[in-house]
Symmetry: C2
Subunit: 255 residues, 2 copies
DNA sequence: CTTTGACCCTTCCCTTAGGTCATAGACTAT
DNA sequence: ATAGTCTATGACCTAAGGGAAGGGTCAAAG
């Protein structure tokens, strides 16, 4: 009877040593004996069993089931295989559905086409372009602006407008809420929305602490120049101040 | 902006609260804000994102990938979907192969038909049957014998003969080795084979300690009646004694 | 005769996508 | 005020191993 140490058997069967350790631990394949120094020693029967294990494993069968099948000799091996076949066929059906769903989604997605590098600012008129650029530079400086511009290219015009609209809506909501406590959950939830909206505009670069101070900086900008906080084109008294306090509270408690 | 606590959002989306905790922890879906008492508060944007997550999850996509896709807005969403589709189609091909393999194996297995209750002892002549039964009863007593008989039914005649032949071979090998130290690895490896062979005959019922003493009992039986340890029909002097010592050593060091 | 490199051992932590307690604090209704 | 529901965190569990730490063993080469 030939004897194999772990690595020998592993290489013979094309599995890792760790796998054999594992099979030993779960009792799926134990060495025939242990040497005096606790080395695992396998015989040819173990090699044969391992080959069977690997066969069933290729059929995507869980190790516990493999163990049951092998230990029951061929009691309901046939049955188990037929059951397993059913399982696999069901899985195949599921995958078919997935492919269908994906195909549909791909079609939808192709409808909303992506914006290319050259098309980034197409669709906005030149005045809008200048506004966007100027705004960005004021807020984040030259260097950050370049990162932002790169990021903006990954947005489609539709998405861009969607974000603009959401920002308008947020400001409207916040105006309505400006009589409330600026730390209330309702207000803070809206501020969170504003925060996320801004991040979608300017990207998520920078460390958390950087983002925190950027956000607070933006709040101060709102106070210093009330044109930023127009709602429906109008300046509202006290609103910039409310906003700044609410944003500061958000930065302090959430960031 | 509506706000949702964990359970509310969970029920709305049909997932568990724990899932939301999990998504928060891995940063896939964080609450918009935390209340003063650290409660997670989600807004409608989060509900929307969760729905997207669930959509991709249904496509069997890992959560990390989902996160990347959603955070890149639609940058290479299209590409990711097409990649994913390829993956699924490959998986389908693999399953096809599995089904083929299983079908082949089932055919092979059907060739070696199982033994039915009534056929258990068919194929052996009556003398053999009596030998088998007597041997079992002597070794394990009436009660154990019934268990064993039930177990034997799960073996086909082919397997049964295979086991008999293996036992003959083991005895032959052991006879050759009987000049060696009974505790050597080579001998012990062969004893291990004998142990496993016996267990395949008589089943694996009983606690480890029971099996240990049964095995030692069998060794003593071999010494007391040398007809059990015939090799090629002949009694060999000193062999039963060698066997008993080797078996006792095995029981002590391995069981 | 010792050292080196290859091998062996066990134990612990890590992975996915959460499930299942356990414990403690918070909210709501009677 | 107390009971019942909700929330939080943390630890442990799943399948099938991967990886590494820390320590013991063996054979050949110096």
């Amino acid at each position: 009877m030939k004897k194999y140490k772990v690595k020998e058997l592993a290489e013979l069967a094309g599995v890792s040593v760790k796998t054999l350790h594992h099979y030993d631990k779960i009792g799926l394949l134990s060495p025939a004996i242990r040497s005096e120094k606790k080395y695992r020693l396998y015989g040819e029967n173990e090699l044969y069993r391992l080959q069977q294990i690997l066969f069933y494993k290729e059929l995507a069968m869980p190790l516990t089931e493999i163990g049951e099948i092998l230990d029951n000799r061929n009691f309901d091996q046939l049955n188990a295989l037929m059951e397993h076949k059913k399982m696999i066929q069901n899985e195949k059906l599921r995958l078919d559905e997935l492919v269908n769903t994906i195909d549909k989604t791909i079609l939808q997605l192709k409808g909303k086409k992506m914006i290319s590098d050259k098309e980034l600012y197409r669709g906005f008129n030149s005045e809008e372009i200048e506004n966007i650029k100027a705004e960005s530079k004021k807020k984040f400086g030259e260097k950050e602006f370049n990162t932002s511009e790169k990021y903006l290219k990954s947005l489609s015009k539709e998405q861009f407008e969607e974000l603009k609209n959401e920002q308008k809506e947020i400001f409207k909501n916040l105006l309505k809420l400006s009589t409330e406590d600026n730390g209330s959950e309702t207000v803070q939830l809206e501020i969170a929305r504003l925060y996320q909206n801004i991040r979608k505009f300017w990207g998520t670069h920078g460390s958390p602490s950087t983002q925190k101070s950027e956000f607070k900086g933006l709040a101060k900008l709102y106070v210093s120049d009330s044109s930023y906080t127009k709602v429906d084109g109008e300046i509202h008294e006290g609103f910039p101040d409310f906003l700044e306090k609410a944003m500061a509270h958000f930065a302090k408690t959430q960031l």
